[in-house]
Structures are given as structure tokens and as C-alpha cells.
């Protein structure tokens, strides 16, 4: 098998007349930490939506671990080992934190649509859920309704739900958006921990986070890749500097 | 042949009546995302009000006053009820309008009683407009066509040619954007809701003496109107128009067709004996299933083309 976890070949997406993504080619190697940056409106979230199956491609191909996924519905892509978080926190707000995580674990633990299995008696499942809670530092909030958590805690839960299923490729869409400095540092630590051994692709605006975590950076402007490579190379790239002036100098 | 022509005309009249009701509902639904279950109830109120007003002042004043009253009622419902329900979520709004159906229904019974009202066609319009094949075509029906066509034209002008209309149109297909542009969307909402109710009231005024004015009218018209709205699609008055005429025609024509599924297969030499469910299913004449057809159509279109005929947004 290839050692490319995720591969985009000539991916394009248009909404009516508006061409959002134009012929993007991208390869993410297994175990890589890959950041996608770019100005607002460049199409980063759209790209994520295309990869995760939320939107359909206008043209091109997407391969996950060597298999084509571009016309599959999101839940099938998820079962093949790709998971994502959302820019706008997307959790089950009327369920407790514990329940949220447990739901994220169910499919990967083989429970399917069972309506006869009593959840409270599944020791292995419940213990694993508690273990993840510990990792996320949310154990003290175990029985709180997810909708009542603080913003940073909700983001942590979101990340937790994304990795709980054991996906090998993780997409994080602006995980530290709206966080204070301390919260951001905690989040980065968390991300570093939970993405060990997995392939990570993230969209970020916070350059400090990007340079902290990423092995490879891709710059997306107006739906096109204008640069891709190790952080230092990208930083020095004149085209990037021109498009993204000032932000990288920081 | 005469049946076809007569049915065609009657279907048109009924279709236009449906359109008056459905257009108000489409506007409300497209813009506010709320399915106003009580829309047919407002129609009923319009009919009853027209009856009462015409007892004192005659039919033509009622034609003007009743819709205005219905519009005011609609504004009141929106401001004091719907807006508050909106805070509690989408389903709460649906439930609210659903609850209104009960209250309005029973209130009408309380105020006017349970018997049908003798709401008659006004003397002035009670003559045959023309006769053909020995059947009269009442002038009143011509009047109904006139009013509904006039209303369609007026609405079209309002929406396409005035500023308010432009804002409403924008809100029909892109509500968030319209709001983001700084328009007083809550007030536009109230306006649209009140307008929709006024239209329903107008439909009630002219429909009440075409059909019977009795407490069950809302339940009779309600479901069909929903079908029309869904069928025609969100965000499109033209789709609503086509759907109304289509439904009107289907219902009118179905009643006169006495064929059944068995008649379709008879030429193949198939006969059915025995008295069981299957036989019954095959021998039921289309005339009797007429009532079913709109719902079958609605289900089909929701399954295969949820946007409806010409909708611009998904339901």
C-alpha cells in the first residue's frame, strides 16, 4: 500500500458560477502533520467539506489510504478512517459530555444500530470513554450537559469526539479559533498528544500554532495551492509573502 | 366533450381559489420557514366574517373589510405569539400554529354556532354568465376568477415593481442575507404574515359562498392547500400557481372519471372474481379516489424532488 494517507488529484468545486476550488493537488503522507493556511475566503473549509464528503466534487479525485472516496456519503468515509472537527462547534448539546464521547465510540467498537444492547453494562466501552475523558481533562465535567460547557471545553470535547473513533486521518478545522493564549497552548498540547501516530490535517489562522505543530504547510489562495512544503521553505517563498503579507513575518 | 369543458372551467375556478390560499401560505413558509397550520382556519374566519359583515353592509364592503380584519388578526398572532414561539425553536413554531387550529376552530363554533351559515352569493352576481351545452356557468364564478386573477396581478406587481416587494423577494430566497443587509426583518415578517392572512381572508370571502360556510371548512381545505404549497415549491409563486391549477384540475376531473384500475387491464382479458381487498382495490373508480390523489402526489414529490416544481430552496 502507499504511504500517502490522503491524496487530492485535480480537485475542483464550483457553486453555480462561482469557482471556489480550482484544480487542487495535494498529497499528505502517513503520520504527517499538515497545515493548510490562507486568507479568508480561500476555500479551506470548502476543501475540508469536499474531503469529508459533505460536498460533492465538481471534478477530480480524492483518495483515502489509496481508495477513492469522493462520491461516498460522509458516514461511509468516516468508517474508512477519516474523521473531522468543525469550525462551528458541532456536538450533541443535550447529551452529557460522557454520552457525547460514548456516541463517538460506538461505531468503531462495533455496536451498530443495536436496540437490544444495554449500554450501562458495556464495561470496556464505558472504561474507554472515561479514559478519553481523562486525556481531554474533562473528567470533572463528565455529567454536565455538553451545551452548558465553556467554549474552550466544548472545543476540547469536539476534538475528543473527532479522535475517539480511532480514525487514522484527522481533519481539524480551526481548532483554536476564539481561544485565549492559555487555552490555545492547552489545545496545542492536546492535539499533539492525541494525534501521535496519526495523520493530521488542520486549517488554522494562528501562525504560532501552525509553526508549532506542522511538518508541512500548504498555502491556499483563491482556491489554488500557491505553495507547499516544510515551514521554513514556505515562510521564505516570495509568492506566499506577497499573498499573505505580514502574517508570516510574525 | 361537454364534461371536459365544464370540468375545465370548474377546475380553473377551484384552482384559482386554491391559489389564493396557497400563495399566502407559500409566502409565509418560504420566508419564515414556518408552516402555518392555521392558514385554512384564517380562511374560515374570512368566510364567517364576510357573512356577518354582509348581513349588515352587503357583500362588497365585506370583500374589503374582512381581509383587512384577517390581516390584523395575522399581525396580532405574529407579534404576540409566533415571535415568542420562535425563540423556542423551529418545532415550537409549528406546534404553535398547530395549537391555533384548535382554538380558532372551536372559537368559530362558539361565536357562530355549529350549523352552516346561509352565506349566499350576492344578488347582483347571481345570474348565469353564459350557457353552453345546457349548463349554466354562474356569473359568480366568473367574478371569483376575476378577483383571484386581480389578486395575482396585484401581488406580482407588488413583489416585482416595488421596493417592499424587492425586499420580500430577497427574503424569500435568502432570508439571512436580507437581514444582514440591514432591513427590519421582524417587521417584514409581520407584514408578510399579515399579508398572507389577508389573502386567506379574501379567499374566504369569495370561497365561503362557493362552498358552504361551516365549521368544518378549515379541515376540508387545509390539507389540500399544504399539498399545493409543497408541490409548487418554496420561493416560487409561479410554481404555486401551476400547482394550484393542477390540483384544482385533478380534483375536479377525478370526480367525473368512473374508470378504475380494472378497466385498464380489462382489455388484456383479465377478470377478477371474489370479494376481497385486492378486488376492491382494482375496482375502486377514480372518482372515489379523487380525494386521495393530492396526497399521493405530495408524497411522491417529497420523495423525489423535495424542492417541488419550481422551488428555489430546499424545504
Amino acid at each position: 500500500m502507499t504511504d500517502t494517507a490522503l491524496s487530492l488529484c485535480n480537485v475542483s468545486k464550483a457553486f453555480g458560477q462561482m469557482q471556489i476550488i480550482r484544480g487542487v493537488n495535494l498529497d499528505v503522507k502517513k503520520g504527517e502533520r499538515h497545515a493548510i493556511i490562507g486568507p479568508n475566503g480561500a476555500g479551506k473549509t470548502t476543501l475540508f467539506n469536499l474531503i469529508s464528503g459533505r460536498f460533492r466534487l465538481s471534478s477530480g479525485e480524492i483518495l483515502l489510504n489509496g481508495a477513492r472516496v469522493d462520491h461516498l456519503p460522509p458516514h461511509k468515509i468516516n468508517r474508512m478512517g477519516l474523521s473531522r472537527s468543525f469550525q462551528i462547534t458541532s456536538i450533541f448539546h443535550r447529551l452529557s459530555v460522557f454520552e457525547n464521547l460514548r456516541c463517538a465510540l460506538l461505531w468503531s467498537k462495533g455496536y451498530r444500530y443495536s436496540f437490544w444492547t444495554p449500554l450501562w453494562r458495556q464495561r470496556a466501552l464505558n472504561e474507554r470513554t472515561d479514559a478519553i475523558l481523562e486525556e481531554l481533562n474533562l473528567a470533572s465535567r463528565r455529567d454536565t450537559l455538553a451545551g452548558l460547557l465553556s467554549y474552550a471545553d466544548q472545543r476540547a470535547l469536539e476534538i475528543g469526539m473527532t479522535i475517539a473513533g480511532g480514525a487514522s486521518v484527522i481533519l481539524l478545522d480551526e481548532p483554536t479559533a476564539g481561544m485565549s493564549n492559555t487555552e490555545t497552548d492547552n489545545a496545542v498540547e492536546l492535539i499533539r498528544r492525541v494525534s501521535k501516530g496519526k495523520t493530521l490535517v488542520m486549517v488554522e489562522h494562528d501562525m504560532k500554532v501552525v509553526f508549532d505543530l506542522a511538518d508541512v504547510i500548504t498555502v491556499l489562495v483563491y482556491g489554488q495551492v500557491i505553495a507547499s512544503g516544510p515551514p521554513q521553505a514556505v515562510r521564505a517563498n516570495p509568492a506566499v509573502q506577497e499573498a499573505y503579507l505580514g502574517a508570516l513575518a510574525a | 366533450m361537454e364534461i371536459v369543458l365544464v370540468s375545465l372551467l370548474n377546475g380553473l375556478v377551484y384552482g384559482m381559489l386554491l391559489f389564493m390560499l396557497a400563495s399566502g401560505l407559500t409566502l409565509i413558509f418560504s420566508m419564515m420557514g414556518v408552516l402555518n397550520f392555521a392558514h385554512a382556519s384564517i380562511y374560515m374566519i374570512g368566510a364567517y366574517l364576510a357573512f356577518t359583515i354582509s348581513q349588515f353592509a352587503g357583500f362588497f364592503p365585506a370583500l374589503i373589510i374582512a381581509p383587512i380584519l384577517c390581516g390584523l388578526l395575522g399581525a396580532g398572532i405574529e407579534i404576540w405569539g409566533l415571535r415568542r414561539a420562535h425563540v423556542n425553536g423551529h418545532i415550537a413554531e409549528l406546534l404553535f400554529t398547530f395549537g391555533l387550529v384548535f382554538i380558532i376552530g372551536r372559537s368559530v363554533q362558539m361565536v357562530w354556532g355549529m350549523l352552516p351559515m346561509a352565506y349566499r352569493v350576492p344578488q347582483l352576481l347571481d345570474f348565469p354568465l353564459f350557457t353552453f351545452y345546457g349548463a349554466h356557468f354562474p356569473a359568480y364564478r366568473g367574478f371569483m376568477l376575476l378577483v383571484s386573477a386581480g389578486m395575482l396581478a396585484a401581488t406580482w406587481v407588488l413583489l416585482k415593481k416595488t421596493r417592499v416587494g424587492m425586499i420580500i423577494q430577497a427574503s424569500l430566497s435568502h432570508p439571512q442575507m436580507a437581514s444582514a443587509l440591514g432591513h427590519n426583518v421582524p417587521m417584514v415578517f409581520t407584514l408578510v404574515f399579515a399579508g398572507g392572512c389577508a389573502l386567506a381572508g379574501l379567499a374566504g370571502v369569495i370561497g365561503g359562498n362557493y362552498q358552504t360556510t361551516e365549521p368544518g371548512m378549515a379541515d376540508a381545505m387545509g390539507p389540500i392547500v399544504f399539498v399545493v404549497v409543497v408541490f409548487g415549491g418554496l420561493g416560487s409563486l409561479m410554481g404555486c400557481f401551476i400547482a394550484s391549477i393542477l390540483m384544482g384540475m385533478i380534483q375536479t376531473f377525478a370526480v367525473v372519471i368512473n374508470a378504475s384500475l380494472l378497466d385498464v387491464v380489462k382489455p388484456l382479458g383479465i377478470t377478477l372474481t371474489g370479494d376481497n381487498l385486492f378486488t376492491e382495490f382494482m375496482t375502486v373508480p377514480v372518482a372515489r379516489i379523487g380525494a386521495l390523489l393530492p396526497f399521493v402526489l405530495m408524497i411522491l414529490i417529497l420523495l423525489f424532488r423535495p424542492r417541488g416544481l419550481m422551488g428555489t430552496r430546499d424545504t
Binding site: 469529508s52 459533505r54 456519503p73 458516514h75 468516516n78 468543525f86 458541532s90 456536538i91 450533541f92 448539546h93 443535550r94 447529551l95 454520552e99 460506538l106 461505531w107 451498530r112 444500530y113 436496540f115 444492547t117 444495554p118 449500554l119 469526539m161 473527532t162 | 408552516l35 405569539g81 414561539a85 423556542n88 425553536g89 418545532i91 415550537a92 409549528l94 406546534l95 404553535f96 398547530f98 395549537g99 391555533l100 387550529v101 384548535f102 376552530g105 372551536r106 363554533q109 362558539m110 361565536v111 354556532g113 355549529m114 399544504f226 409543497v230 376481497n276 381487498l277 382495490f281 375502486v284 380525494a291 386521495l292 396526497f295 399521493v296 405530495m298 417529497l302 420523495l303 423535495p306 424545504t315
Partner: protein
């Protein structure tokens, strides 16, 4: 609760006739069936976020099927004990729910509601049309004394049928409760909260809803089976829109967020229906007004209101609410009385007059053409309403104060 259910009829033992009060047994039987209906409806509304308008269809099909099965059992072709008939009814409901559920769950939210509306109307019209299965307007009937029983009961007396109902209601309720603690149940909740997230944890939300719809139809069918056994006749009312609306009402007023909410709602509504409709023609107006007030002010139903007190009770501060409650109660009562007064006056003016009845209050006839009763009722409504409004505002201040005090204590725990 179970003990109450079993003991209730004995509380109304009528020593004259040596039997339990027929009225009470009948009402309690109704409560049992409605409980199953409301609980199964809440599997959709409260637990899966599905607003269905055709729920009675599955109840009704269960009823119709049971009648036919009873007839078959009666002439010997179906040797099954009566106790198991509700199960057959449930399976009928399940079968229909599979067909309709497949169609309806293809869509979400409003489109889903519209499809169910169409299905409901379709079935009602079909029930009137196809005489063979549905018996047209007169319905179908049968005899429940088929001579087969697991426990040797004859089921002639309604008290025996009542205990059968209690048994099945308990079984169904427990089953539905169990369901909420299974993977499907939890994912149904999840799909209510966030449809998209469900996809991104590996589940097909459409499948989750489809299964939930199927199971909900199964339980509704059981209720219909009990209905058929009790009344021995089923007409199109058993699947018509008013019954679906009833299910919605019961689940919502009781409270959709708590499991026991629909049970409370079913009991309450049945009580009101039996009791109030005896006294007044206009009980629909009251229910409608109650429903609308709840939609606006208490969207989580009665159970929700009770649950909202939880932090205050736990913090031991309930005593501080007693006086504000008392202050709110009196004007509230006056306002409600005024409303009832107006409604009753209006009702008697038109409907009552047609029926030859007049309004009698405390033994004195009230002339509804005179202005005085109208004025006093109107005054009560308006005056009471204004007073209530101001008391309610100060109540809210006390409430918010209490919640604010208790808040920091909670997060430290």
C-alpha cells in the same frame, strides 16, 4: 405507580352494584392505551426530533388488524391466547411503519412533517374507501371472548381487560425505557441534537431515524391492539388526524424531555377529556389555550417545569418560593376563571342554545344575554391578567435571584 394503577379501580368500588365503578375502569383503561400511544410518539418527537403527524395510523392499523385476528380466532383458525394479541397488533404497526418510515425518513424536519401529514390523510381516506378491510364508516367489530387464554380468564368483564391493559402498558413502557439506553436510542438522541455530527461519528442518521420510526410504530400498534380488545370495534377514528393530534398534545404537555413526561400527559389529558368534557362543551379551547401557553412559556412541558426546580430544591431554597407562588396563584386563578367564564358564556350563547341548555352556576341560572355576566367575566380576565402579569414579573425576579445564588455552588461541586 404500578401499585396505584392496580389499586385504583378498587378505590371507586361501588357498593351498590357490587362492582367497580364502570366509568373509572373505562377511564383508566383509556389512560393505559393513551400512555402507550404518547410514549411511542415521544420516541419520535422528544427522542429523535421527528415531528410526525400520522402517528395514529400505526395505532389504528394495530386496532384493525387485531379485530380481524380476533374474528379469525373466533372461528378457530387462529389458536392464540388473547394475551398475545397485542403483540400481533404491534407487528402490524411495525409492518406499516417500515413502509411509511422508509418514505418519510428520506427527508428532514418540515418535509418529514408534510410527508407524515400526507400519509395520515391518505390512510384516513383509504379507511373510508376500502370496505373490505376497514369496514367503511361503520368500522369493523369482533368479539374478544375467544376462549383462549394463558391464565384461563374469560375477559368478559372490563376489569379483567383493564389488568391486561395494565400488564401490556407496563411491559411496553419498560421496553421503551430500555430502548433509550441502547446504542440506537442514544444515537437517536444524537441525531436530534446534531444531524451532521452523527455522520461524522460513523452512523447514517437516516438509518437511525428509520429504525426509531419502525420501533415507534411497533409500540403504537400494541396500543391499538389493546383498543380493539377493549372496545371490540374499530372505526377510522382510531387512525385519524385528531388522534395523532392527541398523541402530540399528551407528549408535549407532559414534557418531551423526560421519559415520564408523556405518561403524565396521557393521564392528564385523559382525565381532562373524561372529566371536563362532561362539564363543558369547550374543552378543546382550553386544551388549545393550554397547549399554546406551553409552547411559548414552557416548551419542556410539565416535567420540564418540575425539573427546572431541581437546583432550587437541591439547594434547600424551595421555601423561599412559597410566598411568591402564593402571590402568583390568586391573580392567576382569577384570570383563568375570567377566561373560562367568557368561553362558557359564548359557548352557551350559540351552541348551548341550539342544544337547549343554559348555564347554571352554583344552582342559579345565568342569563347569557344580559351584560352583567359578560362584564364580570371580562373584568376577571383583564384585571386578573394584569395583576398576574405584575406578580409574574416579581416571581421571575425572585427565581432568577435564587438561580444566580445557586449557580456558583453548583460548579464547585
Amino acid at each position: 405507580m404500578l401499585i396505584v394503577a392496580i389499586a385504583m379501580p378498587w378505590a371507586f368500588y361501588n357498593y351498590h352494584t357490587g362492582r367497580q365503578s364502570g366509568f373509572v375502569v373505562s377511564m383508566l383503561s383509556q389512560m393505559g392505551m393513551m400512555t402507550i400511544l404518547a410514549l411511542s410518539y415521544n420516541m419520535l418527537l422528544g427522542q429523535a426530533g421527528l415531528f410526525s403527524l400520522c402517528h395514529a395510523t400505526f395505532f389504528g392499523i394495530g386496532g384493525y388488524a387485531t379485530i380481524h385476528f380476533l374474528t379469525l380466532a373466533g372461528d378457530g383458525s387462529l389458536p392464540l391466547p388473547l394475551e398475545l394479541f397485542p403483540l400481533l397488533a404491534g407487528l402490524s404497526g411495525l409492518g406499516l411503519a417500515i413502509v411509511f418510515g422508509y418514505m418519510a425518513t428520506k427527508q428532514r424536519a418540515t418535509a418529514f412533517a408534510m410527508i407524515t401529514l400526507g400519509i395520515g390523510e391518505l390512510m384516513t381516506t383509504a379507511a373510508l374507501m376500502f370496505h373490505h378491510f376497514f369496514g367503511g364508516e361503520g368500522g369493523v367489530n369482533s368479539n374478544r371472548m375467544i376462549g383462549h387464554s394463558l391464565f384461563g380468564f374469560k375477559y368478559g368483564a372490563s376489569i379483567q381487560v383493564y389488568y391486561l391493559i395494565v400488564a401490556w402498558t407496563v411491559i411496553s413502557a419498560l421496553a421503551m425505557l430500555y430502548l433509550t439506553r441502547t446504542p440506537l436510542g442514544r444515537m437517536a438522541n444524537a441525531s436530534r441534537d446534531n444531524f451532521e455530527r452523527v455522520q461524522f461519528v460513523g452512523y447514517d442518521p437516516r438509518m437511525v431515524r428509520f429504525l426509531q420510526f419502525m420501533l415507534s410504530g411497533f409500540f403504537a400498534g400494541i396500543g391499538g391492539g389493546l383498543y380493539a380488545i377493549t372496545y371490540e370495534i374499530v372505526t377510522f377514528d382510531a387512525l385519524a388526524a385528531p388522534l395523532s393530534a392527541n398523541a402530540l398534545l399528551m407528549a408535549y404537555i407532559g414534557g418531551t424531555s423526560a421519559f415520564g413526561g408523556p405518561i403524565l400527559g396521557a393521564v392528564l389529558i385523559t382525565l381532562l377529556q373524561s372529566g371536563v368534557s362532561l362539564m363543558s362543551n369547550s374543552w378543546l379551547v382550553y386544551v388549545g389555550a393550554l397547549f399554546i401557553s406551553m409552547v411559548i412559556f414552557a416548551p419542556n412541558g410539565i416535567m420540564g417545569l418540575i425539573a427546572a426546580h431541581d437546583p432550587i430544591v437541591r439547594g434547600g431554597q424551595f421555601g423561599r418560593l412559597l410566598v411568591p407562588y402564593a402571590k402568583v396563584l390568586l391573580p392567576g386563578l382569577i384570570m383563568v376563571l375570567g377566561f373560562i367564564g367568557l368561553v362558557e358564556l359564548a359557548s352557551f350563547l350559540t351552541i348551548g342554545a341550539a342544544q337547549g341548555k343554559t348555564l347554571v352556576l352554583f344552582g342559579t341560572r345565568i342569563d347569557d344575554h344580559a351584560p352583567l355576566p359578560w362584564l364580570s367575566a371580562g373584568l376577571c380576565l383583564v384585571g386578573g391578567g394584569l395583576w398576574f402579569g405584575s406578580e409574574a414579573r416579581s416571581f421571575r425576579r425572585v427565581w432568577q435571584g435564587l438561580m444566580g445564588e445557586l449557580q456558583p455552588k453548583r460548579s464547585l461541586a
